[in-house]
Structures are given as structure tokens and as C-alpha cells.
């Protein structure tokens, strides 16, 4: 693209179906920097 540079490819929409396992830690890490336990396993 000439005008736009996108910094990230992961989308929140993609986490609706595969998310929600509840395995993640509590937060206060901040949620913006939290690790997804599922992704860590994979």
C-alpha cells in the first residue's frame, strides 16, 4: 500500500471462536500485554 502501513496482523475477531478458555492469569500484567496460555502452549 502506498498510503498505509499496518503494524499487526492478528485480529480480535479471530479470537472469538478459539478464545475464552479461561486459562489466562488474572491481570491488573496489564491486559494489553498479557500472554494467552493457549498460544503459549502452541
Amino acid at each position: 500500500m502506498k498510503h498505509i502501513k499496518t503494524l499487526n496482523t492478528k485480529s480480535l475477531q479471530s479470537t472469538v471462536k478459539k478464545g475464552g478458555c479461561g486459562e489466562c492469569q488474572t491481570s491488573c500484567c496489564t491486559v494489553g500485554n498479557q500472554v494467552c496460555e493457549q498460544e503459549k502452549k502452541n
Binding site: 503494524l7 485480529s11 488474572t26 491481570s27 491488573c28 496489564t30 494489553g32 494467552c36
Partner: protein, 554 residues
């Protein structure tokens, strides 16, 4: 919803509901501003969608009518769906009248051009031309309208190309993404939760007299007390029994000052390790300390057993000593700094934070952060004090411009040092754009009151450490368990959709609706909003995204 901002020479567009972050040039920035702000374009845009893309227009109308069932009459909504998205000329003004959002003058225009009440209600009502509408952003009508608004600022072809790129992103789900998560989050809130973490108040006493301490020298509005090993073991048993099949459990030793009750800390860690295998659990212990009693034995134990340690220091000597004196008024800086430096090195500059608080007295807090970095610390958090407005050190609304400027200064310095190979982590600027948690976690809050509980020295349970001592939030105790299921339910449903101010906030996927305790202290409602905190949070998100843009720039 697309949030646009400029920072440090970067134009950034955050597609809020996909969390896609775009660095854009001036042309696209101005185009997006037009798309965001000019409801006058809605009739042409929607009309074009109907003419050029009947399938899209139909989808928009059908869902629009369904969503606006409360706005259009019951008789009108089926008509819209049955007639593939067309309201009659007679019905359209009725739709407009019932929404009360389009003016009498606008309504006939919208109806005439768009021919559908869904688009009418969504587009005109929200004041956005593209939010939730399947309009192509590169259609002739949109491009010409944008060109008209920008009035010769850019060449026509530049605007057309910009609109085409915006449309490409929109079609890919990375621009003007709708917030369609509410049903999933509300269903998620119904789930059976388990306790994942405990904050163990091992000591309600302290050897410092920090002026801003919400625990009031460790006493938490009550009496000085030390947790016994017996109560501590009951707390760990409670956690094991209420954690379901979850294996990883967190236990934070907190105070007051935990090292004042150090033998019990060690005994509880030993007890925890002794029951791990039998229950298939793995404890992650952590500790928060002011450093006064820190010695080689404590450091060695922590480095072996503690997954993380938080070391409390506010920054420059004068900053730290003003707010964190000993009870006799003596300064603490000189005693704790060498210990903290040694501790951080022993932990290989990982799995710790030096954690400070800035107040009205050091609004130039960027200097405190950089002072800590210059002392060699790589993991740093300096956070705004949360205090009643009548306190002399409280952050006030009139302080915000200076604070915003300080965050900018800090962000630019972090970029500079990172590029020079001497970077450090600043807790509130840490955002993971490629990883990070799922949308359920992002919108459901921190887990206080459901997955995370605080335990007092005598075994009472509270939603988190900041509620300790407030009788109405006592949830039960470690021997009898949680008795206040009404509170559990209340905290379960404390998410961004329960907070009206969060619904339109661009940072909601990064802050989860803020801190329930702060909301309670400032508004009397855990679903309220601490507005000064929100303003700072938004600024920090913008700075964090700008840092990502700058570091991606090479």
C-alpha cells in the same frame, strides 16, 4: 470505530474492534477524519451502497431493522426484511421520527437516497457514515464527497487511492470493524469461575509511613496484625479447593510489608510446595517489598521461589523521600537503592519491577522513570497516585496537560534508548499487538472478586487488596469459603459493557474497563468510571502504539 491521533510525527489509525493499528500518511489521515466526522455524507453513501451493491445494502438493512426493532415499529421491521431492505417512502419518515435522531429535513433525504430504515437509523443516528454499514469506501459517491470536503487539499487521484486502500482494509476486517462481541461476552460472564490467584496480606503493619498508602501504614483501616501460619495454610487450602482443574495458581505476598512476617512467608511457601504434587497444582509465588529489611538470605530465597518481585521506590531521592519516609521521618532512598540494584542483577534484570508512584508533587515524573533507568533497572513502573481529591498530593484534572506531556517525553526517550541498545520496559507502555489475550479476557476485566481474592491476616476474603477493610465487600473467609455470591455475581458482570462510558472508548480492548476499586472509591459504584484515570490510560495507549510505530520504522 476508528480512533485517529498524531504523536511524535506519526499519524496513527487504530481500528478499535479488530485492534489493527495502521500508520497512515496525511492523505489517509484526513480522509479518515472526513469519514469519521461528517454525517452529511450518509445519504449519498448509503444510497450508493443500495445502487451499486444491492447484496451489501440488503444485509445492512435487514440487520439494521433487527437491531433497531425498538426504534422502528414492530410492523415496520418485518416489512424491511421481507421487501429486501426497502422501506416505503411513507415508512421511512416514520423510522426517522421514531429514532428521533435524524432531523425532519434529513429524514426524507436519507429515505429517498438510501431507501432503508436500518441504514437510516445506524448511520445518521451515530453520526458516522461508515460505522456498521457495508458501504464501499471507494465508491464514486464517497470519493467525491471526501474530495468536496477536503476542497482541493490533495489531488483527486491521491484521495481516490487513499479511499481504495481504506476499502481494502475494511473488506479485510481491519477498518471500521463492528463491535459484535457483546453477546459472546455476556454469555462468557455466565461461566462457572474458579479462583486463580490470592493476594495474601501476610502483614498488616509496615516499617515505612508512605503518605499515599491506601493501607494506612499497613493497617487497612483496622488494627496492626500478622497472619499466622495456620491462617496462611488455610488460605492455600482454600485456593486449592476452589481452583477446579486449574493447575497454575498464583499467590502474592503483600502487606503492609511482608518481610516483617518473613518466617511465615517461608513456611507458607514450603507448605505450598509440599501439597503441589498431591493436588496437581503449581504455585507461582510473588512478593512486594519496600526493601528495608531485604538481605542476602531473603534475596536468595526469593530468587529460588518467587516468580516475580515488586520493589517499591518512587524515583529520584527527593521524590522518594518526600512520600516514602520512615515513621520517624528519615529518608529511605539511600538504604534501599543498593539492595534493589543487587536484587535486580541477581534476577538477571528479569521477573521483577521497580514500582513507584507519582503524585501532584512530582508531575515531572518522566525524570523519575529515567532516574530509575539510569540506576540500571530494566523493568520499571511508575504509576499515578489514586487518592481523594482533597489530599494535597492527589492528581487533579488541571494536572492532566502536564502529565500528558510527560508521557510524550518519556515515550520519545524510550524510543531513543531502545535504538541505542539501552532500552528498558515501562509497564504502562507495554502492549502486545501480535499476541495478547482473546477478546473475552480483554473485555471481562481483571478477575477481581471472582478469580482473584485478597486474604486478610485473620482469613477474611475481599475482592482485591484495595477493597480490604471495607466491610460491605467482605466476601467470606478461608475456612467457610465465599458467602457473598451476590458480590461474585456483581464482579462477574463488571465488564466494559456494564460501563456506559466504556462503550465508545477506543482503549477498551487494552484497559478492560479500568479498575473496579478505583471506580468504587471515586463514584461509589464498581461499574463507574474514574475519569482522571481514564484520561491517563488513553494517553498511555496512544504513546504505546506510537512507540510500536517508531520502532517498526527502524
Amino acid at each position: 470505530m476508528v480512533h485517529l491521533f498524531k504523536n511524535n510525527g506519526y499519524n496513527i489509525a487504530l481500528d478499535v474492534c479488530s485492534s489493527a493499528v495502521h500508520v497512515v500518511d496525511d492523505v489517509v489521515y484526513d480522509v479518515l477524519e472526513v469519514l469519521n466526522d461528517l454525517p452529511g455524507l450518509c445519504s449519498a453513501a448509503a444510497g450508493t451502497a443500495g445502487a451499486d451493491h444491492p447484496a451489501s445494502a440488503e444485509a445492512s438493512c435487514t440487520s439494521g431493522c433487527a437491531e433497531n426493532a425498538g426504534k422502528c415499529s414492530a410492523a415496520e421491521a418485518p416489512d424491511c426484511a421481507e421487501s429486501t431492505g426497502k422501506c416505503s417512502a411513507a415508512e421511512a419518515p416514520d423510522c426517522a421520527e421514531s429514532t428521533g435522531k435524524c432531523s425532519a429535513v434529513e429524514a426524507p433525504d436519507c429515505a429517498e437516497n438510501a431507501g432503508d430504515c436500518g441504514t437510516l437509523a445506524d448511520s445518521c443516528g451515530s453520526g458516522s457514515i461508515v460505522q456498521g454499514v457495508q458501504t464501499r469506501l471507494d465508491s464514486e459517491a464517497v470519493v467525491s464527497q471526501v474530495q468536496a470536503v477536503l476542497n482541493g487539499k490533495y489531488a483527486g487521484e491521491e484521495i481516490r487511492t487513499a479511499c481504495e486502500e481504506c476499502e481494502e482494509l475494511r473488506a479485510a476486517g481491519m477498518l471500521y470493524t463492528e463491535d459484535a462481541y457483546r453477546p459472546a461476552i455476556e454469555e462468557f460472564a455466565q461461566r462457572q469461575t474458579v479462583v486463580k490467584a490470592l493476594c495474601i496480606h501476610i502483614a498488616h503493619d509496615c516499617n515505612l509511613a508512605c503518605r499515599y498508602c491506601f493501607a494506612e501504614e499497613g493497617e487497612y483501616h483496622g488494627r496492626r496484625a500478622m497472619m499466622s501460619a495456620e491462617v496462611g495454610k488455610q488460605a492455600l487450602d482454600f485456593l486449592v479447593a476452589n481452583s477446579g482443574n486449574r493447575r497454575n495458581l498464583e499467590v502474592d505476598f503483600f502487606g503492609g510489608e511482608p518481610t516483617l512476617n518473613w518466617p511465615v512467608v517461608k513456611e507458607l511457601v514450603e507448605y505450598g510446595r509440599s501439597i503441589e504434587e498431591a493436588h496437581n497444582k503449581n504455585f507461582r509465588f510473588t512478593l512486594t517489598t519496600n526493601g528495608v529489611l531485604l538481605n542476602d538470605e531473603i534475596m536468595e530465597f526469593c530468587n529460588r521461589e518467587m516468580g516475580n518481585v515488586v520493589l517499591s521506590i518512587d524515583g529520584r531521592p527527593e521524590t522518594n523521600n518526600r512520600m516514602r519516609p520512615f515513621r520517624g521521618g528519615q529518608s529511605s532512598y539511600g538504604l534501599i537503592v543498593p539492595k534493589f540494584q543487587k536484587f535486580a542483577e541477581l534476577r538477571h534484570q528479569n521477573n521483577y519491577y521497580v514500582r513507584g508512584t507519582f503524585t501532584h508533587y512530582n508531575l515531572d515524573f518522566a525524570a523519575d522513570v529515567l532516574h530509575l533507568a539510569d540506576l540500571g533497572f530494566k523493568q520499571i513502573s511508575v504509576e499515578p497516585v489514586v487518592a481523594p481529591p482533597e489530599m494535597d498530593y492527589a492528581i487533579r484534572e488541571e494536572d492532566l496537560p502536564v502529565i500528558m506531556e510527560q508521557y510524550d517525553i518519556l515515550a520519545q526517550e524510550i524510543i531513543r534508548r531502545e535504538k541505542e541498545g539501552r532500552g528498558f520496559n515501562f509497564f504502562h507502555f507495554m502492549i502486545d499487538l501480535e499476541g495478547g489475550p482473546c477478546v473475552y479476557k480483554r473485555l471481562s476485566g481483571c478477575g477481581s472478586g471472582t478469580e482473584y481474592l485478597a486474604v486478610t491476616p485473620w482469613g477474611d476474603l475481599y475482592p482485591c487488596h484495595q477493597f480490604v477493610g471495607i466491610d460491605e465487600f467482605c466476601m467470606g473467609n478461608v475456612t467457610e469459603g465465599v458467602k457473598r455470591e451476590d458480590l461474585v455475581l456483581k464482579f462477574k458482570h463488571c465488564n466494559v459493557y456494564a460501563k456506559p462510558e466504556c462503550a465508545s472508548c477506543f482503549s477498551r480492548f487494552f484497559c478492560s474497563g479500568g479498575c473496579a476499586a478505583n471506580a468504587h472509591h471515586f463514584t461509589g459504584d464498581i461499574n463507574g468510571n474514574y475519569e482522571i484515570g481514564c484520561a491517563m490510560q488513553k494517553k498511555r495507549v496512544e504513546c504505546a502504539l506510537m512507540i510500536k510505530a517508531a520502532l517498526a520504522d527502524g
